[in-house]
């Protein structure tokens, strides 16, 4: 590259000129413009950034539970004998608990519908009900754990209980995180954070909540029913 052939030129819209020695610092060209604006562009798929990111996050969660459920399937199908879940677990109580969680998913949909209308009172009512549903689920699960513990059923007893506590326990932690998230959203709603135009925070919490419910339906089926 010969320096002599480099004709200085002024590019379109504010391009700075080029210098003979590219390494030399020329304040006229290289100094940052003072008091410039910050340009933040939107590109790509027409979804909001937060929503795009939460789907990515949910993908990681899917892979996390794939690891747990895959472990369960490998261990159970590879075992010489596997206990009948009905003999060890209170399936009826947990079936009721599953119902509670599914209802709470529906309540969440109602909360989001209220959010889309900008109906603050509606959000508070439906979101509050969703939170109660989630809390009831956690309460029943804790009660289940306590009852099992009283009967000496603990993760170190055998591989059935190891997988049971790992899978329901990690799902339970996700429900707790979801309830905390929803409580934060409820207080946000109480402050008037969500309007008919912008209720993204509510929608993101809802997506997470539906994911947690969906995982439970799967776990309930393979851990309790089969």
């Amino acid at each position: 590259m010969s320096q002599a052939t480099l004709a200085p030129h002024a590019g379109a819209h504010g391009h700075h000129g080029h210098k003979a020695d590219p390494f030399a610092y020329d304040p006229a060209v290289d100094a940052p413009a003072e008091h410039h604006a910050i340009y933040d562009y939107d590109s790509g798929p027409p979804v909001e950034r937060g929503k795009f990111a939460i789907w990515l996050f949910l993908a990681t969660e899917v892979m996390f539970f794939t690891g747990l459920i895959g472990t369960y399937i490998i261990l159970r199908t590879g075992a010489s004998a596997w206990p009948n879940p009905e003999e060890r677990l209170a399936v009826d109580i947990t079936a009721f608990n599953t119902f509670v969680l599914i209802i709470s998913s529906w309540l969440m949909v109602r909360a989001l519908q209220a959010g889309q209308k900008g109906d603050k009172a509606g959000i508070l009512k439906w979101l509050g009900a969703t939170i109660l549903g989630g809390a009831l689920f956690v309460g029943i699960q804790v009660y289940e754990y306590i009852e099992l513990y009283k009967h000496g059923s603990w993760p170190n007893v055998d591989i059935f209980w190891s997988t049971f506590y790992a899978m329901t326990g990690f799902h339970g932690l996700h429900v707790v995180v979801g309830v905390i998230w929803l409580i934060c959203a409820w207080f946000g709603a109480a402050r008037g954070k969500y309007t008919a135009q912008n209720h993204m925070g509510l929608e993101l919490a809802g997506l997470y909540w539906h994911f947690v419910d969906l995982v439970w339906v799967l776990l309930f089926t393979i851990v309790y029913l089969f």
Partner: protein, 639 residues
């Protein structure tokens, strides 16, 4: 879109925005989603205090430098571990000079237990605290917003948490050395039951538990980073910056981030299960009727008493879960490096990247195939031969996209005007040594070969050629190349070349001969292989390797001096010292808050070097042609 000429961006700025309020009012779509191509112009100029600016920073450039300094510190620590390992393998049970000051009770002699801790923590630190943080944490953070034309990451606070999640990881990783029994000693692969039975190894006391905690926190950090990177790349590109106009560095980082999103959670799940095995005595990885020395082994309890735990699990299950992540992790450690090398080769050879689209497709193919080859780490585990065959075929297929990349790099260099500066030399070395590491990879993917050479030094040679001679040289190239943008100063070329020549010679001195001693059967992870008479004649080779390793380590002093001296006293440079095309060179060096001080519009891909349309040998992505500015009359190509 055409790679050259002008194809106007969707929303090219019609005029330069004034300094007043928003020059381009955001077009709000339904439900608050801005239409693609909209620009939000904002002004916020507030001075931050020291803590907010340099410690709890949300600026991607500062976080990148935090990751870089952390990574370089751990590179030195992991390197020191390697030196101790090499000393032991060359001169078993001889005291290491100077080490008796640190360990007076052993007189500087490495014990067999300490040796296993050293190679375990060497691998762990180099992978999880050096290569991945340097590639994705440091360069991913620095380059992604600058190269796509964004003012920062999509979620700056999440980005900050991504770095701060590394702090507990570092704490737990180092804590192992200060607990009873010492650090983890089950290898960086942490295979059960060695890792889960307390009596199996000294590091299986509590060191292994802290190791698992460290791994989990690294996973949290990587996951936060990956969500941010992918969102930023998809959602924050400047007008005209289509996916197929992105620099290959961004493609490498994007694909690596996707690998992290989809593979890493499985390792997180697995390490949590191992953590449960160790703390709650679940039985995920403990087989039924496990006997160690004809007795039922003690499981670990925090109280120190022997407890019985669940069993009925599969030790092999860990290997599957572990490699389901850790094989894709190999590509997380090399795809960004491939991207950096492509950009650096093209810029300093003043020639477009040969075959841009095949480069993108081959990276995607490597990543896709990378998900279905993990079993090749487990050929000796008693795998069904049919399954082993499938893994073998899939593994060998990765040679195809890898070869596409290598030939395209060579095609890029063919007939070009190569500027042999420090960045270019390191990038060329990356290509050369990646070929060596790649070729031995194809060869050892064949099950009959692998079963013979499993756990020998030839495997060590192979992955160090890819990860050290490959990725670390690409990291050095990237540091030399982007240092002017990071700090506004250039690194010293003479010191850079001295650093390169010594590093290149000694790297090959260390790792090339490991092929030979590996073929001779020398097994890795053995503190004193010469107790077997068969291997006694290999000690001299090991002595030479160790001398090269010491020289390689000491040689890095040139890099350290150059790095820190140039940071403060290097030659001041302007926006675009390399006369490069991509967007980061439009910003001031170093870029200020919000990165770009003018509005951007992208008209072409990033590799228009030697274009006939302009008299210069480069054509920046943002330069608009067609308005008569400095365009030769004969070139009239419009697209």
């Amino acid at each position: 879109m055409s790679p050259d000429g002008n194809s106007a961006p969707a929303h090219a700025p019609a005029h330069a925005p004034g300094h007043g309020g928003g020059a381009h009012p955001a077009q709000e779509g339904p439900r608050g989603v801005a239409a693609p191509g909209t620009v939000h112009v904002s002004h916020d100029h507030h001075e931050l205090g020291f803590l907010r600016k340099y410690v709890f920073s949300v600026d991607h450039k500062v976080i990148a430098i935090q990751f870089m300094l952390t990574g370089l510190f751990f590179l030195v620590l992991g390197g020191l571990f390697a030196m101790a390992i090499r000393h032991q393998v060359a001169w078993p049970w001889k005291p290491i000079p100077g080490l008796s000051v640190l360990f007076p009770d052993t007189g500087g002699v490495i014990s067999p237990e300490f040796y296993t801790m050293l190679f375990t923590m060497h691998g762990t630190i180099m992978i999880f605290f050096v290569i991945i943080p340097l590639l994705t944490g440091a360069f991913g953070n620095f380059l992604i917003p600058l190269m796509v034309g964004a003012p920062d990451m999509a979620f700056p606070k999440l980005n900050m948490f991504g770095y701060w999640a590394m702090i507990p990881a570092i704490f737990f990783a180092l804590l192992g050395f200060f607990v009873e029994g010492g650090a983890a000693a089950a290898g960086w692969t942490a295979y059960p039951t060695l890792s889960t039975i307390a009596t199996a190894a000294p590091g299986s006391l509590t060191g292994q538990t802290w190791w698992l905690m460290a791994l989990t926190w690294v996973g949290v950090s990587s996951m936060m980073g990956a969500v941010n990177y992918v969102t930023t790349i998809f959602k924050m590109r400047a007008p005209g910056m289509t996916m197929m106009r992105m620099p290959l560095s961004i493609w490498g980082l994007l694909i690596a981030a996707l690998l992290q999103l989809f593979a890493l959670p499985v390792l997180t799940a697995a390490s949590i299960l191992q953590l449960l095995d160790r703390t709650l005595h679940t039985g995920f990885f403990t087989p039924s009727n496990l006997l160690v020395n004809a007795t039922r082994p003690e499981l670990l309890s925090n109280a120190g008493a022997a407890l019985d735990g669940a069993s009925g699990g599969h030790p092999l299950l860990w290997q599957h879960l572990f490699w389901f992540y850790s094989h894709p992790a190999v590509y997380i450690m090399v795809l960004p490096a491939m991207g950096f090398a492509s950009d650096i080769l093209s810029t300093h050879a003043r020639k477009p990247v040969f075959g841009y689209k095949p480069m993108v497709y081959s990276m995607s193919a490597i990543a896709g195939l990378g998900f279905i080859v993990w079993g090749h780490h487990m050929f000796t585990s008693g795998m069904n031969p049919a399954l082993g065959m499938s893994f073998m075929v899939a593994t060998i297929m990765i040679a195809l996209p890898s070869a596409v990349k290598v030939f395209n790099w060579i095609g890029t260099l063919w007939g070009s005007r190569i500027h042999l500066n420090s960045a270019m030399l390191n990038a060329l070395a990356f290509v050369a040594m990646f070929i060596i590491g790649g070729l031995s990879g194809i060869w050892m993917a064949a099950t009959p070969v692998d079963i013979y050479i499993h756990d020998t030094y030839i495997v060590v040679a192979h992955f160090h050629y890819v990860v050290f001679a490959g990725s670390v040289f690409a990291i050095w190239a990237a540091i030399y190349h982007w240092f002017p943008k990071m700090f506004g100063r250039q690194m010293n070329e003479t010191l850079g070349k001295v650093h390169f020549i010594g590093s290149f010679v000694f790297t090959n001195g260390v790792f090339y001969m490991m092929h030979q001693i590996g073929l001779a059967g020398l097994m890795r992870r053995t503190a004193d292989p010469y107790t077997y008479a068969t291997y006694a004649h290999l000690q001299e080779s090991n002595e030479l390797i160790t001398l090269c390793a010491f020289a390689l380590f000491v040689w890095q002093i040139f890099f350290v001096i150059n790095f820190f001296h140039s940071m403060f006293w290097g030659k001041r440079v302007g926006r675009n010292p390399w006369r490069a095309n991509s967007l980061e060179w439009e910003a001031p060096s170093p870029p200020g808050h919000g990165n770009f001080d003018r509005e951007l519009a992208v008209y072409r891909g990033p590799y228009e070097y030697g274009s006939p349309e302009v008299s210069e040998d480069y054509l920046p992505q943002t330069r608009k042609l067609g308005d008569g500015a400095a365009r030769p009359a004969q070139a009239h190509a419009h697209h």
